[in-house]
């Protein structure tokens, strides 16, 4: 049996596909920065899209970094929710559902470019959808969708005053079946415990939109290997796996 060890994870990273993400967030720059920061697992979560995940997966093969394909979805309540997966097919299926419920077209001058790139960082196309917008799916519908594709559903930056579960809905709904709540780098774990008294596990990730932000905040997991199954066990505090605070 493999031994348990600590894995450093930053599971909320944007790429140049997010309109608000810097163009310097190319797959290679992201991976190089993650290696520098000694991050073991990266979650790639662009707004309402996963089209840069293939390039990240391709590059990561030659580096000691595991990629979790993901998306940061905006619900109709304008809550940001992370969906994290262990395979490309699952996130692409989710993306199809999200696209089906996402109205509007991007205005590049107002919101920024949405660049889809290959592993060399060459531009393949510009995504024309309004990725910064909200889908017409409720929070509960999105959590159910993520779970139906066997992913983890995490509410983004709950301490922020916009686009967070708490800003939009006032408090954490007691019946919600999220896998974790994310706090932003601007609040500590103990501050968050005091402020929210959450009934769900807390994690902290960087929500990086620029290379230098990668690893600014992260969560350590005591697990066997860099897999979604192991992270799920750690969040549930099962079989000796746990989140290290």
């Amino acid at each position: 049996m493999k031994v348990l060890r600590t894995f450093k994870a930053d599971l909320h990273i944007h790429t140049c596909l997010s309109p608000c993400g810097e163009l310097s967030m190319s797959p290679r720059n992201i991976i190089l920065r993650a290696v520098e920061e000694k991050i073991d697992i990266l979650g790639i979560c662009d707004h309402n899209s996963a089209e840069n995940v293939p390039a990240l997966l391709a590059i990561a093969k030659t580096y000691p970094v595991t990629i979790f394909p993901g998306m940061e979805i905006t619900s109709q309540e304008e809550i940001h929710i992370l969906g994290l997966f262990d395979n490309l097919e699952a996130v692409l299926q989710l993306q199809e559902e999200v696209y089906h419920h996402l109205p509007g077209e991007n205005d590049e001058e107002a919101f920024g470019l949405q660049v889809v790139v290959n592993e060399q960082g060459e531009v393949l196309r510009f995504n024309p959808r309004l990725l910064i917008g909200a889908c017409n799916l409720s929070l509960n519908q999105i959590v159910d969708l993520i779970h139906s594709f066997k992913g983890l559903a995490i509410a983004s930056h709950i301490d922020r005053e916009s686009f967070s579960l708490i800003s939009q809905l006032g408090f954490i709904p007691s019946d919600i079946i999220l896998d974790a709540l994310e706090i932003s780098p601007s609040i500590s774990y103990y501050q968050a415990l005091n402020r929210f008294a959450p009934h769900l596990p807390l994690v902290s990730f960087s929500d990086a939109h620029r290379p230098e932000e990668i690893g600014q905040s992260f969560t350590r997991f005591l697990i066997q290997e860099a897999s979604l199954t192991e992270i799920r066990l750690a969040l549930r505090n099962q079989q000796g796996r746990r989140v290290i605070h």
């Binding site: 309540e77 409720s138 708490i166 809905l169 006032g170 709904p173």
Partner: protein, 113 residues
Amino acid sequence: MTLQEIIKGLNLEVITGGDNLNLEVKDGYTSDLLSDVMANAQPACLWITLQTHVNIVAVAKLKDLAGIIIVNGRQPDKETRQKAQEENLPLLLSKETAFQVSGRLYQLLGKGK
């Protein structure tokens, strides 16, 4: 002005809380951020929003609001209807926008005179 008179004046559809309409309404509050409503709405005011999640009922009870007007023809979630029913909270619907409903309520309540 009573809630009943406002319902008539604004042509609202009553979903729940139909036997709780003699409440005196003195003010309104328009916001879609529940955290903002929790921080700033005053008791006995009528809340205008497009949010439909069940948490709106808990916030309205917590702040002792007179009721909620859901705008833009949006339909409340099933859990929201059930919870509002249990709490006997007036849940009202309008096909108009938050701007229109707010403006008309402002006039009805004789504000700004």
